[in-house]
Symmetry: C2
Subunit: 207 residues, 2 copies
């Protein structure tokens, strides 16, 4: 077997393990999930899992890393070219390609909340939370700034604060999603209200 | 010793234990706090603690119960009489007596997040979370409805959704407070922005 094939094989193996782990975290949440659950789900031995991932935390970060990259990678520039307005770019970032409020939430979000809230005094975990926050913050800020430069947005408030308010509101919805039933949360309707707040804050003209 | 004195003594004892527990949860968070921490903090024996509280969860609920009552009890009617507008009533509910945005957050809020997010599939915990949500929701809704009836508010959106948006935003801020540094969060500034969103959504006239 050539080293190249072996490397490919390893990558595939790794990807499958991450996929299995994602399912385990979605089903169990972060705290109650174990490496054993992942072994069972993926049908691998202890050695087969630990060869790729040191521990549950390591594995979880890989899972949510892949999850976030889907959104923020694909590069912002490409996204901007595809959309007809910066408002639409914001919608894609927040709601996905359909740009419509919906009742769906990232199924990993309850586990993410758990991960970041529990043992939050762990300095490495805090640092990681900060990095993730800044990724979302910078992307949002950049889109709003570009929209302002293009004359599409006339922000009523400092752009950095509008960006932070989006994150806070969405974090709050994620929390509601984790602990409330969907009729109580009204995710879709609350998301539409967030969009209304934003249109007003950004001075977006109604079509 | 008369039964009455003994009852009083017990109540005092219980209150002291709840106070010590609050400190322990603030210092350690929910998951890492133990009954042993509370015994040490209060300077009581194992028996002295378990005589009053069955377990950590029981104790925690007592802590946050007292914490919430301070806000929602004291009766809404009394609060309405004390304030010159329904907007001011909303401000007191959200910001306390000074009615000003500030950088303070309930020090128990990170523990509360932990408690509600971890093991959220526990049906009793979910039910309790729902009850707490409805308390906040009903109070907020009632204030806005009264303000609408009085002609002070002219809501642009369904009142129930505006109320839910307040809770979502504040929950998101609580999450940020638990994991971010204060310069990143900008709690005071984000709170002011929330107030601006609300003034607009409620059609509150600027003075």
């Amino acid at each position: 077997m050539s080293p190249k094939v072996s490397q490919e094989h390893k990558e595939q193996r790794r990807a499958k393990l991450i996929e299995a782990a994602a399912e385990v975290f979605i089903e169990n949440g972060y705290e109650t999930a174990t490496m054993k659950h992942v072994m069972d789900k993926a049908g691998v031995s202890r050695g087969g899992l630990y060869q790729y991932f040191e521990n549950k935390e390591d594995l979880f970060r890989e899972v949510i890393q892949g999850n976030q990259e889907k959104i923020i990678d694909g590069s912002l520039e490409k996204l901007i070219k595809q959309q007809s307005s910066y408002w639409d770019v914001l919608l894609v970032i927040m709601l996905g390609d359909k740009k419509e409020s919906n009742d769906k939430m990232d199924p990993l979000s309850p586990s993410k909340l758990e991960y970041f809230v529990t043992r939050r005094n762990d300095e490495k975990r805090r640092e990681y939370a900060r990095l993730r926050y800044f990724d979302a913050f910078e992307m949002t800020t950049k889109i709003i700034e570009r929209g302002e430069t293009a004359g599409e947005f006339i922000p009523r408030f400092p752009i950095r604060l509008i960006a932070k308010s989006i994150i806070s509101y969405i974090d709050g919805l994620a929390l509601g999603h984790a602990i409330l039933d969907s009729r109580t949360l009204e995710l879709k309707e609350q998301t539409t209200l967030l969009l209304n707040y934003l249109k007003w804050a950004l001075g977006v003209e109604e079509e």
